[in-house]
């Protein structure tokens, strides 16, 4: 039993990712989509929190959303970049899904 959490809000604006990180359980997966992908970057003010999260969770980021925003190269190296097919696979791999928005 473990959950895939999806987060679609920017951590610079909104508390959704912070709440997700507080309430996700060790071993859960967290997928950043839409404006949530801004939480998966290196060298930002949020990066220290991201790196703390990487100790407890597997972090994924939707690559098409990074590309649209021009930030593929800024993505944190330890966050796994996936496409929509990979998104579908994750929802099968994990036993439940929770959306944070």
């Amino acid at each position: 039993m473990s959950i895939l959490h999806t987060v679609n809000k920017s951590p610079f604006v909104n508390n959704s990712l912070a709440s997700c990180l507080r309430l996700a359980a060790q071993g859960d997966g967290i997928l950043l989509i839409e404006d949530g992908v801004y939480g998966g970057l290196n060298h930002t003010g949020f990066t220290p929190e991201l790196e703390q999260a990487l100790a407890n969770f597997t972090l994924y980021v939707l690559q098409p959303d990074l590309a649209a925003r021009g930030i593929v190269n800024q993505a944190h190296p330890k966050v796994q970049q996936i496409d929509y097919a990979g998104f579908v696979d994750l929802t099968v791999f994990y036993t439940n899904v929770q959306a944070w928005f």
């Binding site: 473990s2 508390n15 507080r22 309430l23 996700a24 359980a25 929770q98 959306a99």
Partner: protein, 118 residues
């Protein structure tokens, strides 16, 4: 039978999510599944007592929470930290709830089959 969890994270009135989420909860209660409700983040404001929307000219839907018991929705949880951050105590809430520490809520979420968050 499935265990369904509703997670309420939005304040009332500012957006329409809280009201329409409550409609969904009442509907789900008719399906005789095991339903739990969690209020956290600004969602705890939904349960604040003394709501009075007369001047705004919009509907006060908070009394509907009192009907949840009639609908056999009895597992209602609030995250302690969310209350504390907002200066709220359980006496300030319109219905009795079970207060959970963050770690307990984290466990509770894992025990459900379907999670509907609003």
């Amino acid at each position: 039978m499935k265990k369904i969890l509703f997670i309420q994270r939005r304040s009332p009135y500012g957006t329409g999510f809280a009201k329409e989420a409550l409609d969904a909860i009442l509907m789900a209660s008719a399906f005789e599944q095991e339903i739990s409700l969690v209020f956290t983040d600004d969602g705890v404001w939904q349960l604040k007592n003394q709501q009075d929307t007369k001047t705004l000219g919009i509907k006060n839907f908070s009394p509907t929470f009192k009907a949840l018991e009639l609908y056999e929705v009895k597992q209602i949880y609030v995250e302690q930290m969310a209350l504390e951050q907002r200066g709220l105590q359980i006496e300030d809430l319109i219905i009795p709830v079970t207060v959970l520490a963050t770690a307990e809520l984290r466990q509770l979420i894992q025990q459900h089959d379907v999670i509907l968050s609003f």
